[in-house]
Amino acid sequence: MKEIRIAAMVAAALAVSAPAFAGATLDAVKQRGFVTCGVSTGVAGFSNPDSAGKWTGIDVDNCRAIAAALFGDAEKVKLVPTTAQQRFTALQSGEVDVLTRNTTQTLQRDTALGFNAAGVNFYDGQGFMVPKKLGVKSAKELAGATVCVQPGTTTELNLADYFRANRMEFKPVVIEKLDEVIAAFFSGRCDVFTTDASQLASVRATRTQNPDDYVILPELISKEPLGPVVRHGDDQWFDVVKWSLIAMIEAEELGITSKNVDEMAKSTNPNIQRFLGVTPGMGKALGVDEKWAYNIVKQVGNYGESFERNLGKSTPIKLERGKNALWTDGGLMYALPIR
């Protein structure tokens, strides 16, 4: 009798754990009725809570787009704040379905950690900011400079590598806290401040009275492609995540915005008709509603709108589109064809 009870408990435990194993994240998410996304505990413009505790940012929009595609409702999301250390465990253990948490995609993370990168929603890279009065035009002229940098990240290693590769000397000023390293730079303790370019722009826009006195040098010394990440083992779920992001970019390419999407639905352009589900087929192939892309654009907006709303000129971060412009405008954002 006792053995039977134990066997039953083991079976029950296995039954609980089965859904996430068998490549059925998609089914589990559909059954649950909302998408669980891992976000940061606060990175301005990517995922941060506003004064009312509502999350905003391009990573949050990415998550909402997935919910819009699956459920036709961008609000059916649960955002789980994760720290840099626990984010991968949260994904591996099934606590979250997808990480939309400014995570750099690398070979190691793809293979050893068992993840799949489902596209790139922000091309970042490490850059340098200097006071304009130094007259420096290129990072190649920085020999002998004092550089403010935060320790313990790849930032510090990239910096050393770059100067060694270019046979230049530099004096690092290593400061742990972001606030303090910024204060050190603006008070003139170092000539150069280095971190990811998106952060440089945000710091310049918000932490000094005279943003025009500082320039961000054109060189990027590392590649930091940020984007959504899912577990190995559920290709269907991977597809939904991947194409939800592509749909946002494709919408911008097609000129469809949250404002004009209803008019665009009347368009005779076959690409737009396919995209918005006027001509059915795409939704069925993806395993979601035919209106999936319509819902994404209507409720979340296209990639450009999301970028402008969270990082662009109208926000305090005032980030240029740069590498994140559409490929037709000289950037890297390139939507795979939806057909």
Partner: protein, 365 residues
Amino acid sequence: MTAPTATTELKPPALSQGWLGWARENLFAGPLNTLLTILTVWLLLATVPAFIDWALLKAVWSAPTASVCREAAGGACWAFVYEKHRLILFGLYPFEEHWRPMLVVVIFLAMIGLSCLRRFWTPWLALYWIVALTAVGILMWGGVLGLTYVENERWGGLPLTLILSVFGIAFAFPLSILLALGRRSNMPAIKALCVIYIELIRGVPLISLLFMASVMLPLFLPTGVNFDKLLRAQIAIILFAAAYLAEVVRGGLQALPKGQYEAADALGLSYWQKTGLIILPQALKLVIPPLVNTFIGIFKDTSLVVIIGLFDLLNSLKASLVDPAWPGFSAEGYIAVSLIYFALCYFMSKYSQALEARLATGHKR
């Protein structure tokens, strides 16, 4: 001309009387003392007026946007704290439901205040706490009585800090008494278990316990089986606090004269009667200062849940600091939060002093 007679009262030297005398005695008693006094005065003059100037005189108390505040203020911009106070106090709890965590904070503070009054030290108090904690659970979770359900991933701010520390202390304290008694037990197995537990837990920092609970544990469980992040952190805090408190309690047990134990034995009391009626009341009274010391430590240690992504008071402040619309007000934010921490810790410390004074029957030196 009258010569002073022997009976004329001479005034003592002016330098040894009144405020001058006091100053000479206490501030300028020797070269080192004088130097320290001058140094302290200089330090105070250098910092206090500047701080008051920054924090009060030149501060801006309300402003519609960050840039307005920054331009208007030569000093602190407290408008930031006003703008963000709900996020800081209640974290990511749904905005329109904030009255619920607000009420929870009131219940907690009221219950803590109540428990401090000797009048309420009856068995009823346990019942009050059960009722209060049920109310807290209902308010925070909801899902009944027409309250919307709020999963505990969204709990945050001051209520979360209070929950973590109150539950942490409430469960760790009894556990620590058992551990302390166990460590002094004559039964080798129990003694060994308690020693191993205390030394193992005390040997690692809380931050690594939290990390184990939140990062390693889920990897050992089968995929898809999750138990709650908050619960994991709470258990880690309880286990950690219990190990520290156990040693404090053991200190009290050691301090009792052996005669007390022997007298209790001679009266024919059982082990639990002896412990409950004779030993513990005296031992715990002795260790009130280090107990409160540890309580205060635990209360502040709860802020370490930052590393596992729980939004306690400190972490919700951090989240409010990264809003691009209100950037760069970390000094104001940290000062505001530290005032809350200070108020609660200061209360604990003051109360413990009062308690010591009241219970000082025969030990006071």
